[in-house]
């Protein structure tokens, strides 16, 4: 197993309690930052480390921090995005449930760097049992003097609160999250202005994912140089991958960025290969919003080079033959999985989660779901396939927020790489009326099985 930065102590009994966490070196980054570094030095260190947002967008975290309006005399806020609702992603839940103090330590160090006196953790409402775990950990940290007034005897004070959502994937988008934090409907705002200038209550705000903030702890502890020794090129450090689907060992794995995809899928240290002795058919590598890739293209790029778990390598080939690392929600499918039905569950998801503000997403997501429903249930027409591609094209890029793109990319990529499966559904409606159609008779398609190159 590669270097474990975030999950190093995950198996120490009692690591979720303050005492055990502190004994294993917890809160050292707070001491180091508050006592020996200025806020700007902390930001520089995060910039140097090359840490990229771990929620899905992959935007350089230090750069985002540097955009914060430090000239305004309005209060500044750090908000942790714990809304984790991207299908296939469950790493933040794992982290917060098992080592809550890692997130809290990260929040304190990060808030210090940003000059925030109040910070919020916005956590999805379905994780309500984790709200209690976090609140308990916050109380422990406060009792030990790491939160509240004059932390560790310095003149830095911080109040940290947990705020639950109530069931809306769109609140994972940072401006919709801020709207929800303000007690309103989760409607994304137009950008600009960006939250770094006018965010929560129109004050300068930084919104970061749970894993991003947790990573700040190690960066300060071991230094940016050591952090970016791990990884390759612009993909530095480690990433938590949520592996699910048709594999032997689903779960959360911390990998060094740069790990070959083939090793991740087949090694016993990670996913342990495809279950039930079956063969790999397709992978959605970074949460449902990223393009789906057939086995041949997930293991190797179109040029024939081995695909690595990095931002750059997964994106090699653009949307023609590549995908994205995204949130690291790694969903694996074997030959019995129906790509059309799988896609339908995702379009149904986006249709359900659209906030409804802008016309392309509001109407388009519903339209795509209805067409896919027809195709999957044996009522598709040949024209429906190109219609879907066109609808996806008309949504992409024309919406207020990326949910429109997230709804369009799976459709466009599924048809690009598995068009014959859609045509099969149109041609054999009676066969596909049984939802288990590919379990009964897997489709031999041009996606090809693992190891061979696509024609």
């Amino acid at each position: 197993m590669g270097k474990q930065i975030l999950l190093e102590h995950i198996n120490v009994p009692g690591i979720h309690t303050f005492d055990v966490y502190r004994k294993t070196g917890g809160y050292a980054s707070v001491e180091k930052a508050l006592k020996t570094m200025t806020p700007d030095q902390v930001t520089e260190e995060v910039k140097e480390s090359g840490l990229r947002g771990r929620g899905g967008a992959g935007f350089p975290a230090g750069l985002k921090w540097s955009f914060l309006d430090r000239k305004s005399d309005k209060p500044r806020y750090l908000v942790c995005n714990a809304d984790e609702s991207e299908p296939g992603t469950f790493k933040d839940r794992y982290l917060m449930e098992k080592i809550p103090h890692l997130l809290i330590e990260g929040m304190i160090t990060s808030s210090y760097a940003l000059g925030a006196r109040t910070a919020y953790i916005y956590i999805r409402g379905e994780y309500m049992y984790i709200v209690r775990i976090l609140e308990k950990a916050i109380e422990e940290a406060r009792a030990a003097g790491f939160l509240g007034n004059n932390i560790l005897g310095t003149d830095y004070s911080l109040e940290l609160y947990v705020h639950p959502g109530a069931g809306a994937y769109i609140c994972g988008e940072e401006t919709a999250l801020l709207e929800s934090l303000e007690g309103k409907r989760g409607n994304p705002r137009l950008k600009p202005p960006f939250p770094a200038i006018a965010g929560l209550y129109a004050c300068p705000t930084v919104v970061n994912n749970v894993e991003t903030i947790a990573s700040v702890v190690s960066i300060i502890n071991i230094s940016a140089d050591k952090y970016n020794d791990v990884g390759i090129g612009k993909s530095t450090g480690t990433k938590l991958i949520s592996a699910s689907g048709h594999i032997n060992k689903p779960g959360v794995y911390e990998i060094e960025l740069g790990l070959p995809v083939e090793e991740f899928i087949y090694s016993d240290e990670y996913c342990g290969g495809i279950w039930k002795g079956r063969t790999l058919k397709a992978v959605v590598a970074g949460g449902s919003s990223v393009p789906i890739l057939p086995a041949s293209l997930i293991l190797k790029t179109a040029k024939g080079e081995p695909r690595l778990m990095t931002y750059e390598s997964l994106a090699d080939g653009g949307f023609v033959s590549g995908t994205m690392l995204g949130s690291g929600g790694f969903i694996v499918m074997d030959e019995t999985a129906c790509i059309v039905r799988n896609l339908w569950t995702y379009t149904r998801f986006y249709h359900h989660e659209s906030c409804g503000q802008c016309s392309p997403c509001r109407e388009g997501t519903g339209w795509m779901e209805k067409v896919l429903h027809r195709i999957e249930h044996g009522h598709g027409h040949a024209e429906d396939i190109d219609l879907l591609v066109d609808i996806a094209k008309k949504i992409e890029g024309n919406t207020i927020c990326p949910l429109g793109d997230a709804a369009a990319w799976p459709v466009a990529s599924a048809i690009r790489h598995f068009r014959d499966e859609f045509e099969y559904h149109v041609k054999y409606p009676e066969k596909v009326k049984n939802p288990r159609h590919f379990e009964i008779e897997p489709m031999q398609s041009s996606y090809t099985l693992a190891g061979t190159v696509n024609a």
């Binding site: 409907r185 249709h351 503000q357 016309s359 509001r362 109407e363 519903g366 339209w367 008309k394 207020i400």
Partner: protein
């Protein structure tokens, strides 16, 4: 001040002006349509995506193009910005897509809808849409309801521009209706049985771009192009009192606020002026309202043509075709 070039024509506007307003200053065919933006209501715009334009040069300082199409009604101009509206095929494609999306759940109510002839969606579809629909799925439906005893809501027709909620927030004392649910189940509603009857609530009818909110006192009375619109005013202590009377002979069928050349009301009127004075004698009539020649409402009107004005307009259009800087734009009310 900032200089911006739209479809080849340069103009100078105060800092902070949006691309849409800069285009409106130039006037003519290059003005993007707008279904949710409303100049006299704060914070509107950005939702319908009809006004999307291409920014091929961000500014003189940073000439990189913007990666996506932007909503011109909410994007401020930067000095040296170059914008493409109808000269960009991408923009026209996107606009056609948005029109199609707006129409998939919209019922084919034109034959029975009061808004016909002054409907932004009809105009938009005519100018930018496709002749046929590809949508063969079921449409989402709602029951017709009354919002208050003077406003009818046909939620099936609503395109969720949210303008009516802004009117309620900004012009009346208390908003009692809002948007329920989300996605395409979104519904304008009071949620409970409650009348919307604040003094300026009738303006929702004027701001609604489609036939979702209509005046019950005018319902089914006449097609708008058979009426005679007259500018009129009265002394009102609650509002400006300046209205348009839509008449047939001596009968006042409906009273509405005055819309500018972009179809937007600048001065709102109170409910009393709108509903309670349907008698010609209550009003000081100023004269026939000028209706733009290309609006269907002008079909049955003959008006004296101002030759000078017509010549200026033709000259403007010719210069626009050649892509040179325009002389000062005309005012033309619709």
């Amino acid at each position: 001040m900032a200089k911006v070039t739209i479809d080849g024509i340069e103009t100078e506007v105060p800092d902070g002006t949006t691309i849409l307003n800069a285009a409106r200053q130039i006037g003519g065919a290059l003005v993007p349509p707008a279904m949710c933006y409303y100049s006299s209501l704060k914070d509107t715009g950005g939702k319908c995506r009809v006004c999307l334009v291409k920014v091929s040069q961000g500014s003189s300082k940073d000439p990189r193009p913007l990666p996506k199409l932007v909503a011109s009604c909410r994007t401020p101009v930067a000095d040296g910005m170059v914008v493409q509206n109808i000269t960009s095929p991408d923009v026209l494609e996107a606009r056609k897509g948005v029109v199609e999306f707006l129409l998939i759940n919209h019922p084919l109510d034109c034959p029975i809808c009061d808004q016909a002839g002054e409907c932004d969606l009809q105009n938009l579809a005519y100018e930018h849409g496709a002749a046929n629909t590809r949508y063969e799925e079921e449409r989402r439906t709602f029951e017709k309801t009354d919002i208050g005893d003077k406003i009818k809501l046909h939620m099936t027709r609503c395109i969720l521009c949210y303008r009516c909620t802004f009117v309620a927030d900004q012009l009346t004392e208390e908003r009692v209706h809002g948007v329920m649910n989300r996605g395409d189940a979104s519904e304008i509603s009071t949620y409970i049985e409650k009348a919307v009857d604040n003094e300026f609530s009738g303006n929702m009818i004027d701001v609604c771009p489609v036939g979702a909110l209509t005046d019950k006192t005018f319902r089914f009375k006449s097609r708008v192009w058979f009426t005679n619109p007259l500018d009129a005013h009265r002394n009102c202590d609650k509002c400006c009192g300046k209205v348009v009377l839509w008449t047939k002979g001596e009968e006042v069928l409906r009273v509405s606020a005055r819309k500018d050349q972009f179809g937007e009301v600048r001065e709102y009127i109170c409910n009393e002026c709108r509903y309670d004075h349907k008698n010609m004698k209550d009003w000081q009539v100023e004269g026939p309202r000028h209706i733009d020649r290309h609006s269907v409402i002008s079909q049955n009107h003959y008006e004296k043509i101002d030759l000078q004005k017509l010549k200026r307009e033709i000259d403007r259009q010719l210069i626009f075709q050649k892509g040179k800087q325009l002389p000062e734009a005309n005012e033309s009310a619709s």
